[in-house]
């Protein structure tokens, strides 16, 4: 009961200075909103990556030559597929293409023609020479859809025309945005790659517990290769997004610090009127501990309200509006940046981290000013 009454007075006291306190709540909520947006965004991307890459090949084997990624000969593929425990080893063809027309980078993939119709593809996969399937981003950049053609310049600077047989639906943008998928032969021909070589090898392993062992065997068999396991890829994405959100949080923490300075300043520079009020309270029977509790409640009201408002705003910003404020920061100079719809993966942990990260500095920056206010001498009220 006592605590509720002190909360009541705290609210009445906050309300009497509503413009000042509303401005604090607004700034605080904005800071929390930005930090929460960063966390939500990166966590969503991270979770999406983890789920999607679960189906990536168990092992990728690259050839390293002079420390650089090199084309891998097909006898490697054959030899690797005979290692016990390996389900299959297949060559993979892919590369980059810089499109000077739109100043963007595409990723070209060469496939053999065994791929059935994909549900996220509008149209069909390239089945004959001269056909290709493109990501929505590429289609958008080149203003081309299914049935149109796309002209790319090969290494001899000769234009090669491809018919767009299919465009990947925008739901898959996060995977396919910059892809141009074509037949294996077209790919080899386009880049004039030597026969019997591929970009790298994908290896499927039947028993997931043996992936590391098989990677070791491949490395021993071919010391000039670099096997990359699926779990390493997933871990890399985890680290990338943690690093990324940590980095952005660190940068935006300056906003938090600025806010805490503001809070400190507001809490220290209380008006003569407020000081007089505290004096009156103490004179009529409030103890220093009661005033400290009053200040504690004021802090709770401000930080709880700001936290909740900030979280709601961040959720709407990230998952309904697709984070318009943050995308330029993540996007960098990428010309083709996927126009993805973020999936709202959220857990209590995110909220917890955020509350911890934002409330602690605020509370810490108000402890000493609150105490300074609380020890106001009641006797002062008797004099003016």
């Amino acid at each position: 009961m006592r605590h509720l009454k002190i909360l009541e007075y705290a609210l009445s006291s906050l309300f009497r200075r509503k413009y000042r306190n509303l401005s604090i709540v607004a700034v605080y909520a904005l800071t929390i909103g930005i930090l929460a947006s960063i966390l939500f965004l990166t966590h969503s991307l991270k979770t999406e990556a983890t789920y999607l890459l679960h189906d990536a090949p168990e092992l990728i084997v690259q050839k390293i030559s002079a420390g650089r990624h090199d084309l891998i000969p097909s006898e490697y593929t054959e030899k690797i597929s005979t290692i016990p425990g390996v389900g299959s080893a297949e060559p993979r063809y892919w590369g980059y293409y810089y499109d000077s027309l739109t100043h963007s980078n595409y990723t070209l993939i060469g496939i053999d023609d065994t791929i059935p119709g994909l549900s996220l593809l509008e149209g069909k996969m390239p089945s004959v020479s001269g056909e290709c399937a493109v990501g929505a981003g590429v289609g958008h950049a080149r203003i081309a859809g299914t049935g149109d053609t796309i002209t790319l310049f090969n290494s001899k600077d000769t234009p090669v025309v491809f018919h767009i047989a299919g465009v990947f639906r925008s739901e898959s943008n996060i995977l396919t945005n910059d892809l141009i998928v074509m037949g294996e032969k077209d790919f080899l021909h386009f880049f004039e790659l030597p026969a019997g070589r591929s970009t790298d090898i994908t290896v499927s392993v039947n028993n997931p517990n043996e992936i590391a062992t098989i990677a070791g065997k491949i490395k021993k068999l071919y010391p000039d290769t670099r096997p990359i396991t699926k779990s390493e890829i997933i871990r890399t994405y985890d680290a990338v997004f943690n690093w990324r959100s940590g980095m952005m949080l660190t940068i935006f923490s300056s906003a938090l610090i600025a806010f805490c300075i503001l809070a400190w300043d507001k809490a220290t520079g209380i008006s003569a009127e407020e000081k007089h009020e505290i004096g009156i309270l103490k004179a009529i029977g409030w103890d220093t501990a009661d005033i400290l509790e009053l200040k504690f409640w004021e802090g709770i009201v401000i930080s709880l309200t700001s936290l909740l408002v900030g979280l709601i705003a961040a959720f709407i910003h990230v998952f309904f509006l697709n984070a318009p404020i943050l995308t330029p920061v993540i996007k960098g100079w990428s010309v083709l940046f996927p126009d993805f719809r973020l999936t709202p993966y959220i857990d209590i942990y995110q909220i917890f981290v955020l509350a911890f990260l934002t409330v602690t500095p605020y509370v810490a920056s108000t402890i000493i000013p609150s105490w300074k206010t609380a020890i106001t001498d009641p006797e002062n009220v008797m004099r003016n």
Partner: protein, 110 residues
């Protein structure tokens, strides 16, 4: 003695709104992982994709898991990072990746 009731109900309201948003988020996640996720995974499987198509500006940002060890330092080892995405994507640690390969040999020896 009504202000604390107003405050508590306001906070409760905010919590309810937040919970509704989260439930909506949860529902979306469930719906998408039922409807879209299998077809996306299908793409990953058939096209043998290993990376998200997020940053297309450079090789090591387009395919963080596939890039050459040296890629971030292509010009010379202390070349200042100039891709905005590169400033927040951690370049691979060369020393520890050598150690990792050494570790793999040990793993095999066992």
């Amino acid at each position: 003695m009504v202000k604390h009731k107003i405050f508590l109900s306001f906070s409760l309201l905010e919590i309810i709104v937040l919970s509704i948003l989260f439930l909506y988020g949860h529902a979306t996640v469930t719906a998408r992982s039922k409807n879209e996720m299998p077809s996306k995974k299908e793409l990953v499987r058939y096209l043998k994709l290993t990376d998200l198509s997020l940053w297309t500006e450079a090789r090591y940002t387009r395919h963080p898991s596939q890039a050459d060890i040296f890629t971030p330092f292509q010009d010379f080892p202390s070349s200042p990072e100039h891709f905005p995405a590169g400033s927040i994507i951690a370049p691979e640690n060369i020393i520890s990746s050598t150690k990792k390969q050494a570790g793999r040999f040990q793993g095999q020896a066992l």
